[in-house]
Symmetry: C2
Subunit: 319 residues, 2 copies
Amino acid sequence: MAVYTEVADDQLDAFLAEYDIGEPQSCKGIAEGVENSNYMLATTRGTYFLTLYEKRVDPRDLPFFLGLMDHLAARGIPCPTPLHGRDGRALRTLADRPAAIITFLPGLWPRRILVDHCGPVGTALARLHLAASDFAQKRPNALSVAGWRPLMDASRERAHEVAPGLADELRTDLAALERDWPADLPAGVIHADLFQDNVLFLHDKLSGLIDFYFACNDLLAYDIAVCLNAWCFEPDRSFNVTKARALVGGYQQVRPLSAAERAALPLLARGAAMRFLLTRLYDWLHTPPGAMVKRKDPMECLAWLRFHRSIASADGYGL
Amino acid sequence: MAVYTEVADDQLDAFLAEYDIGEPQSCKGIAEGVENSNYMLATTRGTYFLTLYEKRVDPRDLPFFLGLMDHLAARGIPCPTPLHGRDGRALRTLADRPAAIITFLPGLWPRRILVDHCGPVGTALARLHLAASDFAQKRPNALSVAGWRPLMDASRERAHEVAPGLADELRTDLAALERDWPADLPAGVIHADLFQDNVLFLHDKLSGLIDFYFACNDLLAYDIAVCLNAWCFEPDRSFNVTKARALVGGYQQVRPLSAAERAALPLLARGAAMRFLLTRLYDWLHTPPGAMVKRKDPMECLAWLRFHRSIASADGYGL
């Protein structure tokens, strides 16, 4: 929720001169996207997204993200694609930040998740996994199991401010996740953050997958595990097995899970809950209340984590 | 800089059913506008602004604001206009807030003010004043001279946190403004907040005046005084008389100032500086650092105030 960087008129004009997209008609800062400054840019030719990458994004990762969007779009995945300037480059500099113009996708993200959303999300995720299978660049997942203990350490002393005994509770989960995390499941490029605000629907049909700035190489089934957390819990934090069936069913229509992947789902889902719990916990403890970045509640993830801890096999998800 | 209220899918659908503007294609929260939640709403018919009025706006004022936009647009002023639903109403309820859809104006507000911007701003302001002269509704200016002492009282004890001795310094100005404030100048509907982010330009031509949510009845020349502060100080807080001449000259092409208005300009400009100083000071002291509402620096207004205090007549502005 942010525009961190204002772009001066002459800076914008000089930037746009590198593209063949007409004259700017309006340029409005968008209150979405926690990490970057996003503008909706209307020109005489169409509507685009202008993104200035702020300090939480490592500029060295940008060729991976932009290249991945190009790669996926070329294979029919409905995702934004970076525009290439006259010099062929998609990534350049604006107001001293790395910046890119990407296509604007129509659609609205569902504020209220219905069962009918979950099947298409699963199917789109599987298509993304297949389409990315021959993407040449690699980006390790810094927020996978090896990254969780350092994150926990950064919040341990103040974790009790969020919930009494939280650090103690997570200690057991973290040890179990580190001990049992699978190493031999199918891996590839994953989205890694396919929450509801990153999936657009138009007339009840999935019209776009957006925000690839956490995409990385990791276990494919871990991406499903993220979605089980993101799409299948109700606002009261109960787990909806009908949504889980729709989601995983939609996925398997395109890419059936192996027995090992299926068996690993409870642990992967527990891990995904841990990952979002830890980053939200860190942000909660390090962001002042009411700050420009809207803080997300780590306790929501704790409810997810506790649920997955209680699940012995994929049967427990109704699968 | 804000979206305070999320609109659920079914709420949006029900709301749009009252209008004849097609199906929603996207709905993006806009990071502009401090007071309300603003969405850029693209439909199959065009692009619109959806505004949910939040608690800092008095709902009783909304018929004035929306009616004024209708009135001005009908008289050729390039301003947004509210869409009227099938029932004729422009104002209805969405997500428990008063809400309206208004037209979307193309253009970009100038991030760097040039002399060439100032003439058209003056001209547009004068046209607005004339066009509003037969607008029937009234709204007193709660942020005029009578409102400044209560505002000062609300910040007095902590004013020194912003600048040592600030309350003492302002005491003298406030007494002078209350004593000398003119009562017999031409009055009417004024914009009252025509800062650079409320004026759009397209291809170097003024294309829109926006954000009428401070509009009220007050002295017309006070609106020019606001603009002298908003448009004629350089980033280093020096006063640019060439810009002032362009601004007032542009205004007078449409509505010449009387000798009394001209003579009152230094006092009115000092008052306008006081008004923005006091609201910024209040917000500064009552908003946590880094909050969703970007705090504006009250010290900028103090520089304006000190400058106007030193001006004996309109000659001092190069007029």
